[in-house]
Amino acid sequence: MLKAIETYDPHTAPLNTRTKWELFNVFAVSAPLTQPRYSTNFLSSATTGSSLSSQATGQFWLLESHAWLLNPKILTLPNAWVRAETSSSLDLRVSTILEERLRSMKAGHLSMAAQFADAILFAKVFDDALLQPTIWTDDETEVVLEWILGEKRHVFVSFEGDGEFGYALRIDDRFIPGNISGAKPFQVPSDLIAYLSTR
């Protein structure tokens, strides 16, 4: 149904070539993404009917071109860029609540493109079944997802647009730092999932 038709190395591709890949860029991540919705989420971003497959290998992940261009740190990951096309219609779209909310908010905060891009990447791997956060931005440095779950249950994730994010979780009377050092936006840390899953 979907097939990859071209690959190239983003480290050597000229910038003007890169920009032509808008909305069609993916990179491989070291851990396969097996849930089908990851690929269908990507399709929701395609505007011309072309898209790409994550089903072919189960290892592709969307990276919007502007996020890639603004976040050079992401390029340090082992990756392979793939251009692909699809014969399927876009009715495979399965949008996530969080992603939609972030996209809607991003329009009013143009100077925060990199921060929103990272947050949107995060939203693409965030399970809608988990509790939904409050979203806010200071419009200068960060986009924050925040969950205030009770008097002493509170967690927040801060995206500063540099390809990594910071997070902290409140346990009783203090916040503790997140466990995953150098957390990247395309992976929701296990301790965060566990925290949000505990009622």
Partner: protein, 201 residues
Amino acid sequence: MNRCGCPEEDSQQTSNSPGIVQLEESIVFAMIFPRTADILGVACLPNGDLKNRQLSVCRGDFSSYAELLERVVQPQLLRDPSRHYVGYHWATCAEIRAIYAQLSPKQLQRQSNATSEVGAFCVIDDAVNGYDAHARVGYSSPPIAKFWEKHERAAARGNLLIVLQARGTFKPTEADAAPLTGFANITSPSACSARPNQTKR
């Protein structure tokens, strides 16, 4: 508690200020939030301001509530009208300085044991534009390579929020001209909430 990351605390930074900020002083913090943020959350503590040590606070012994509104709150609202003011918190300077950076095992391994408990925040005198009671708060900057990581900063910021929220939120009904004094001598939230013209959430 190692305060190696806050050398500015040791000497008066601005000639008009009442001097270095003392441990027993009350630090009053105006809570100003983006509209979409939860008013119980960390949005009132902008990470950029904390990194630049430019989070504006007021030294309660040297300011009235009216001055707090005029000199701290209004300028921030004018700068960003999309934000709103919901009241203020206060804590002693000692309580803020007692927050320490929780370092990861990797960072602790990288550093000597002598730096295992380092103050996370500096409280610095900063009289500005005729407002002598102004001070600023920010992350400490110990002379240690890669001292702060994102998660540790986030945790410190959360803990600063806990300290500030401990006594509740205050929003006087009038722009009282009386000094915001005596806070540091009040130890219980109930005593604090009994101050005239104040409401505690």
